[in-house]
Amino acid sequence: MGKLIVSLSPHAHGNDSVERNMYGVIIALMPALLVSFYFFGLGSVVVTATSVAACVFFEWAISKYILKQQRNTVLDGSAILTGLLLAFNLPSNLPVWIIIIGALFAIGVAKMTFGGLGNNLFNPALVGRAALLVAFPAQMTTWPKVGQLGSYLDAETGATPLAVMKEAIKSGDPMVLNDLPSSLNLFLGNHPDGAGAMGEICALALIIGLIFMLWRKIITWHIPVSIIATVFVCAALLHMANPVYADPVSVILSGGLMLGAIFMATDYVTSPMTPKGQLIYGVAIGLLTVIIRNWGAYPEGMSFAILIMNAFTPLINNYVKPKRFGEVPAKK
């Protein structure tokens, strides 16, 4: 007879794994990735491949030679995911060497410095993007137009919907907003003059990813819904008060809002642990996004809003507790 194995209960496991979740998010990103190939062609392929390869390489190298981890984390899918999300935040005409610097910041500075997967305070992909935005402001704020399938560095650039909205606010002339694509085109990403970061162009593809992640129980609705709803409500109020602010539907379908709300703010490691905390986090990201978009220096505020709230996540975790079973309301 063999040995008797002894351990404490539970002796069953639900067979969920880190890999299942990471690769699940990667699958959820596929519609948006295919759409970005469709709209940005060669440039999009080069940027994605570079970003993913660089992120995976840095993860592997740092894990092996600097942290000397016994279990190399490169296969858990988190580095691939960071690479994809970083690429989604970049213009499709960004030179390879800049992307590599971005990947080094994302994996090296934002993730591995803190001890690797699970320990980072800030979303790695967004740190990569923010670092590039500061270091290469010109390259990071010009966005290629869609439909130039064969071009990469030479792609023609255009104004993003958010730039149009910012222009309307600056000039005080609501007529500027007539340059915006229709809501349907923003939803599908199908606007010939449209421009933007690779992954944010088609809201529909991102929403398909959201539905997939909700179905597979990878994330819950709290963060994406609270962000989108907050931005929508604020935009509606501003639009009613003054027509130089764009209509709420265009606002939520433009820029990185969907990408950020669905894929960036929901990053496990850097978002709060309780549903209540997640709602607070989501609403705060929504408010910060509206403030930065309308009154800040940059047309897009999503990534900064998320990074700012990442910093508040430990505080939220400390103060916001789930409702305990049988909790009796404190007597007044």
């Binding site: 008797l4 002894v6 539970p10 069953a12 794994s17 279990r71 699970g118 305990r324 079973f325």
Partner: protein
Amino acid sequence: MNIKTFSIGGIHPEENKLTHEALTQVAALPKQAIFPLSQHIGAPAVPVVQKGDKVKVGTMIADAGGFVSAPIFSSVSGTVFKVDSAIDATGYRKPAIIINVEGDEWEESIDRSDKLETVKAHPELTPEEIVNRVKIAGVTGMGGAGFPTFIKLTPPPTAKAECVIINAVECEPYITADFRLMMEKADEILVGLELLMIAAKVTTGYIGIETNKPAAIELLTKKCAEAFADTNYHVEVVPLKQRYPQGGEKQLVDAVIQRQVPAPPAIPVNVGAIVQNVGTAYAVYEAVMKHKPLFERYTTVTGKRLLNPGNFLVRMGTPMQDLIDACGGMPEGDNKLLAGGPMMGKALTSTEVPICKGTNSVTILSDDEARRKESQPCIRCAKCVSACPMGLEPYLLAKISEVKNWERAEREDIVSCIECGSCQFTCPAHRPLLDNIRQGKATVMGIIRSRAAKK
């Protein structure tokens, strides 16, 4: 119809009810029976026999060792071999009485007939009489924890019982002993429930059954309608949505009557409920109506690689090896032997551990099922927080227990943990969350006790 369940957290483990349809067999008598003196929560029982004493089936061999305690009765006839120690479910050698089996001679006071005794025919049964008979028969909770039943029936004066809830949930994977008992002894269970209601001085009773046992729901609903038709009792079978840990006392009360028991030291009767396992209801029937002390029980012997898994009516004290042999022997290779199911069962260090009052199952996990996977860093996915049925934050409790921050652990309500294992079951990183939480909980409870003692 909106099927009820508890309100926070919970998981859906794979059912694996392999022995659902297997009729209960009477297990063979062992050659030697082992009776650990600590089969219940509370003080160990105190031996009242010596080496060489002759005993019969139903002879008391150890008396209650305190108020929270229960006597132990021999399940076999024969000679006391020794009063010594034996390995029990904890893995340690603990005091035990060992009896060599000779024949099968029962105490004459026990009514061995199959005749159904009804409460109507026994007007002498006052609440006090029922509680006393339950007490002297050594009846303890049959669901696993093993709390002496008579104590639950006499709630503290600060609390008032309003209903009895029969726990027939059996939410642990693999186990089917309660289901078989319901299918085979429904009438007796309902008399047992009536006795419990009389003892608790209530007229409302509920039987909570998960919807994966439609046959039991149907049978008991029908029997309830017959048995309680012209009485002033209100008894209802409550179908519950399948979800672990619904069989946890607090979760069951929440599911059935939508009341949440506050944090410890509160117990279900503080919200008006007395919860008894369906096996306990049957044991109460036998103790009160048949004068039969608690010495045998329904136990499932199961495992995916076991040749003939089944349900057994087992004399307590029977070594598990006997039952495993009756099912075709231990599977080849390394196995994990559990007293109980895979969620809350105890892994045993020996196949000679006997069946005790609370052993509802002998579960054998083989191959990959028997081993844990390597743990990875926490990715802070918060799935443990969603799974926790007590509204706690398992990742945090495990972490602060690991760094031995006991003050913080107490502040974060670690003592509310019911050790159901939902967090660890859910954890994608395979972290040993409950191992750490358990250690933290035990330490914090010790600190609380010593603080109370100083006052």
